[in-house]
Amino acid sequence: MAGPVLEMRSIVKTFPGVKALSDVTLTVRQGEVHAICGENGAGKSTLMKVLSGVHPHGTYEGEILFEGEVCEFKDIRASEARGIVIIHQELALVPYLSLAENIFLGNEHASRGLIDWRETLRHASELLRRVGLSEHPETRVADIGVGKQQLVEIAKALSKKVKLLILDEPTAALNDEDSGKLLDLILELKKQGITSIIISHKLNEIRKVADSVTIIRDGKTIETLDVKSAETTEDRIISGMVGRDLDHRFPERTAYEGESDAAPALEIRDWTVHHPIDQQRKVVDDVSIHVRRGEIVGIAGLMGAGRTELAMSVFGRSYGRHAAGTVLKDGKEIRTKSVAEAVDHGIAYVTEDRKHYGLNLIDTINRNISLSALNKVARRGVVDEHEERQVAEGFRKSMNIKAPTVFEPVGKLSGGNQQKVVLSKWIFAGPEVLILDEPTRGIDVGAKYEIYTVIDQLAAQGKAVVFISSELPELLGMCDRIYTMAAGRLTGEFSRAEASQESLMRQMTKDKEVTR
């Protein structure tokens, strides 16, 4: 067996207030495909950013040895010069430039500032052939599919004389056929002597291409396993990914005292949504869920499972194309084709991305809170500023939003306080169904507890709550029922008693073939 090509020793990386990596050790052997596995937020991407110089030397602790030499990369260029190339989840291609121009962007075949087109095109077609693309190098990137774009990224990496190729969830945005091609290519490159690190949480993929797998959890290396060995079962990987103590605390649930045999507050039947650009791809595939008054229902899933897409497409068709299916409110079919209609039917969607979709960061707390229900503080189209301010003051106190006044711009608040403003905004709208998408992402433990308490109160008041989260302990601690999704499909439904981290994770990592 070949010796190690890469060793990362005791890597520690701290961001203000958060320890993203607390002790990670990774050893990758020459010529292997090494998978890295872990929950969302476990530190996989951060680790790869440390390796590739996105987080330069000096901003982390620990040692990196590549080909036996200590490396201190100060930026991406330095790591690329050594042959380490990372391909990020979001593709970094310029859509309106040709394949050839993209492949050699920043690395052009040129003399004295003038591009040598003959050499550029010749070399580009050679690289494209190597990754299995027959497109002409002058085709625009925008004119080929996402799957092929991923291959162009690899061609770009090859042009940099890559020795270690890092792929961060390369198949997350691809359909089955394109995923298959990509995985085959990784195996092909392995034969040519290129070592790969692949970040993935699809266990069948890991089984197909990887030689070994390292499991990371909460910023620590748990173990490295040989994929081919008999001991390495899916169960072992899953328990490694989730096996954390339940160190979060959850407030005591107050039961909702109301009839529960009535029709569900919200029911979604046979919901299917297509990707907004790649319209062949189903992002949500025939999903049916329901939630009753006073109930908190979780939706568990990994990145790309289609949870946010499901919620946003139901909420006024805010995502995707050709959404099809039925939405019922209290047993009656309703139209939710615009956000205003959804809000009028008493549905609220609290986004996972509060900075882009939730808040007007340059505006004040009071104006953000009132925005979705201005008519409640207005008479005949005129906003009563004093009443608005009083409402906002009420939320500042009851939600414990830490700000000197409600006239503070929301952009200056911490993540937890911003989240409280978004929640206040939607509670003020007075919905009967709240869809909360990752309501505790990126906020500290104390603020989390406060938000859990608010969610409990909402359910106790008889509101129906849909709770989307990537943190399994949170779902297990908060929800009455939990659905799991994987690759756009519903893969399971668990009562509170049945659910465990292992059982959920098994359904979350299921792929299509397995489901059928």
């Binding site: 956000v339 205003a340 986004t351 882009h356 808040l359 104006r367 906003v383 004093h386 000197p404 007075g430």
Partner: protein
């Protein structure tokens, strides 16, 4: 949506004692307010400095009643346009067509009244409708078809300038009937006893003072009703006194010449009306929301397309009003009327605190920005500075104002 559910949820804890905040807290509040509105206070101070400088350089000519009256008449159209432009820029767009639309509406007015003897009140109404139509057409393309506003209004700038020349056949057309002329350079009529001052203007000034004082007092009472913190009594009085003094000075200056120009009354009405609209109406809030963060506004149920459409329709109507005022003042419609006015209006909005990325700005800011440019114009004219250097100086003023803002923001780390 049911209201009762909401009312319970936040359960606003009754804040123990109402009334004035404690001293330290208050100082902090005032400093915060000052810092937040740095741009506007900064521009107000800059405007004061410019006025003072030119008053000294022109040996007081700048502040002669006749000149103040002139200043208002000369700049009213740009100020009217700046109000509409502020709305457009807050919504995250731009309108390059307003100069051409003003010229087009002026030409249309001339064709109606001079060539076809249409009664002037009817002509005014028709002109406003045509202007709003021009704005609506562009607004439709921008809001519903998603063509960038820069492109649509650049096209509009050419199209409406072309239509102007077609309507006028390249000639200047005039004069206008008396009633219409009044809009551009008329004053309130003189009546009552001989007082050396213009009586109606004085009365209007006094009425305005009474109105403002009543409004402020009522507002304070309402705040106390909602148990919100209010300004301490003596600071509140100081605020009232400064507002009253400012109104008095302008009133006396105008009243000692020919009285208040009619266009000033129109402009005053617009400032108050649009200020109120932007601050207190749902429509105004929605404009800020779509300019500040469009995806978030959409997900909050704001009908972004309709709002954008209406903002451009409104801009067209205001451009028509400005067009009437220019035509009336020159007493003729000219193919070259309103040339570069869109740039003056845009500059006014940016000097007055608008942001390139939208979501920020006030109507009052646009007026302050417009006045900075107006006083620079007027003062340099009095000093007989050539139009070549005037352009250089106005350009640098715009650069300095926005540059200061950028520097100030970077310093405060936001």
């Amino acid at each position: 949506m049911s209201t009762d559910v909401t009312a319970k949820t936040p359960a606003p804890a009754p804040p123990g004692k109402s009334g004035s905040a404690s001293g330290e807290n208050l100082l902090q509040l005032m400093l915060d307010g000052l810092r937040r509105n740095m741009r506007q206070y900064g521009m107000l101070i800059a405007l004061g400095l410019i006025v003072a400088l030119f008053a000294v350089w022109t040996d007081g000519d700048l502040l002669l009643p006749r000149n103040v009256s002139n200043l208002v008449l000369q700049n009213s159209y740009v100020l009217i346009l700046a109000i509409g432009m502020m709305l457009v820029i807050i919504a995250g767009h731009i309108d390059l067509s307003v100069g051409s639309v003003t010229a087009f509406v002026g030409a249309f007015a001339a064709v109606l009244t001079v060539q076809h003897d249409v009664a002037w009140p009817l002509a005014v109404v028709l002109c406003l409708v045509v202007g709003a139509g021009a704005g609506a057409a562009q607004g439709f393309l921008i809001a519903y078809l998603g063509i960038p506003s820069f492109i649509v209004t650049l096209a509009g700038m050419l199209v409406f300038r072309g239509f102007t020349e077609i309507l006028l056949e390249g000639q200047t057309l005039g004069p206008f009937p008396g009633g219409l002329q009044k809009i551009g350079n008329g004053f309130l009529p003189e009546t009552g006893p001989e007082t050396n001052y213009h009586n109606i203007t004085l009365l209007l000034g006094l009425a305005l003072i009474v109105f403002v004082v009543l409004q402020e007092v009522r507002d304070r009472k309402r705040q106390q009703e909602f148990s919100l913190d209010v300004l301490p009594r003596n600071i509140f009085l100081l605020k009232l006194v400064s507002i009253v003094a400012a109104i008095l000075v302008v009133t006396m200056l105008l009243a000692s010449y020919k009285g208040a120009p009619i266009v000033l009354l129109i402009l005053g009405g617009l400032v108050v009306g649009y200020g109120y609209l932007m601050r207190n109406s749902i429509f105004g809030r929605h404009i800020y929301a779509i300019g500040g963060n469009l995806p978030a506004a959409k997900l909050s149920g704001v009908k972004d397309k309709k709002v954008t459409f209406l903002v451009f329709l409104n801009m067209g109507a205001l451009a028509a009003l400005a067009g009437l005022a220019i035509a009336a003042r020159l007493n003729a419609a000219s193919p070259k009327a309103g040339l570069n006015y869109e740039l003056e209006a845009i500059a006014s909005a940016f000097i007055g605190g608008a942001s390139m990325s939208g979501g920020v700005g006030t109507v009052l800011g646009a007026i302050i920005g417009g006045l900075v440019l107006g006083v620079l114009n007027n003062g340099m004219n009095l000093l007989s500075v050539g139009s070549d250097w005037q352009q250089v100086i106005k350009g640098l003023a715009l650069l300095a104002a926005v540059g200061f803002d950028v520097w100030n923001k970077r310093k405060s780390g936001s």
